[in-house]
């Protein structure tokens, strides 16, 4: 039995390692649904629109981002809690998402994905007439 969430986390066939010495982490995400649209927000601090990559392979949607920290000239890092890293996470989409209408924006280090449902998946109101 599977849960009835429309956006489930996908299980990647293998854990691929990056070639560069950076950590790959799954960004924290909020997923929110109203009747027609599923919206996903993922926290990717340090990522701008040029460093984000979204792919859809069959039912698996993968979001990927590379965080960049600008080097400061004549400064040295004296204390560090975070480092440049790659964000990556995959979700499997249910058939009701319209693949052609997925849109994405990046603002202030947050990736926002809008996943509209295709027409037949939208709830239809069926009128009941008195017989």
């Amino acid at each position: 039995m599977k849960t009835n969430l429309q956006t489930r986390e996908a299980t990647l066939p293998e854990r691929a390692e990056g070639t560069r010495d950076r950590r790959i982490v799954a960004p924290r995400a909020d997923i929110h649904e109203n009747g027609d649209v599923i919206t996903l927000w993922a926290d990717m601090p340090g990522v701008d629109e040029a460093h984000v990559n979204i792919t859809l392979d069959k039912d698996v949607l993968t979001i990927q981002g590379t965080s960049v920290e600008d080097e400061l000239t004549n400064h040295a890092v004296s204390y560090r809690e975070y480092a440049e890293r790659d964000f990556r996470r995959s979700f499997s989409l249910s058939s009701e998402i319209d693949r052609t209408k997925i849109s994405a924006t990046v603002r202030d280090g947050v990736l926002k994905l809008v996943l509209p449902k295709s027409e037949p998946a939208k709830a239809r109101r069926i009128e009941v007439k008195a017989g």
Partner: protein
């Protein structure tokens, strides 16, 4: 929980659901490393040189005008809030993992800061606070004379 309430039909023993959930959890654990929680929010990096420091904090998706920065001596405090999206009627959350609510963080730099010269910028979800060192604490060069 080993007991599932099935549509008012009383309680049914459903251990397989828990096993499947466990399997899902394990899959998720081995799929990739989750972004670890920072010891405190927001995570900061501090860059320094002789003239000052730059404190950088990862605070994605907030309104930069609502960030409150205060400086006292050698301590810098960042106050702010991150709002979660308000749910309207008929809307539901599938996942809520992002940090939200009020946050405050105080960090110390190794010297006193001139509060009048502090500036800040917000870019790509990262807040940078430029903290010039107080004039009277600037290092003085001492010449060594050969006798």
């Amino acid at each position: 929980m080993f007991w599932e309430d099935v549509s008012g039909q009383g309680r049914m023993w459903a251990p397989w659901q828990d096993l499947e959930r466990l399997q899902d959890e394990l899959n998720r654990v081995f799929t990739g490393l989750r972004e670890p929680s920072a010891p405190s929010f927001p995570a900061v990096n501090i860059w320094t040189n002789q003239e000052g420091a730059v404190v950088r904090a990862e605070v994605p998706g907030i309104d930069a005008t609502k960030i409150d920065i205060s400086v006292m001596g050698n301590a810098v405090t960042i106050n702010g809030r991150r709002d979660a999206a308000e749910l309207k009627q008929g809307e539901t959350y599938h996942r809520r993992e992002r940090v939200c609510g009020l946050f405050t963080r105080t960090v110390e730099v190794p010297f006193r800061v001139d509060p009048k010269k502090v500036s800040a910028e917000y870019k790509r979800g990262v807040l940078s606070i430029m903290l010039p060192r107080a004039e009277e604490e600037m290092p003085k060069k001492i010449n060594v004379r050969a006798s």
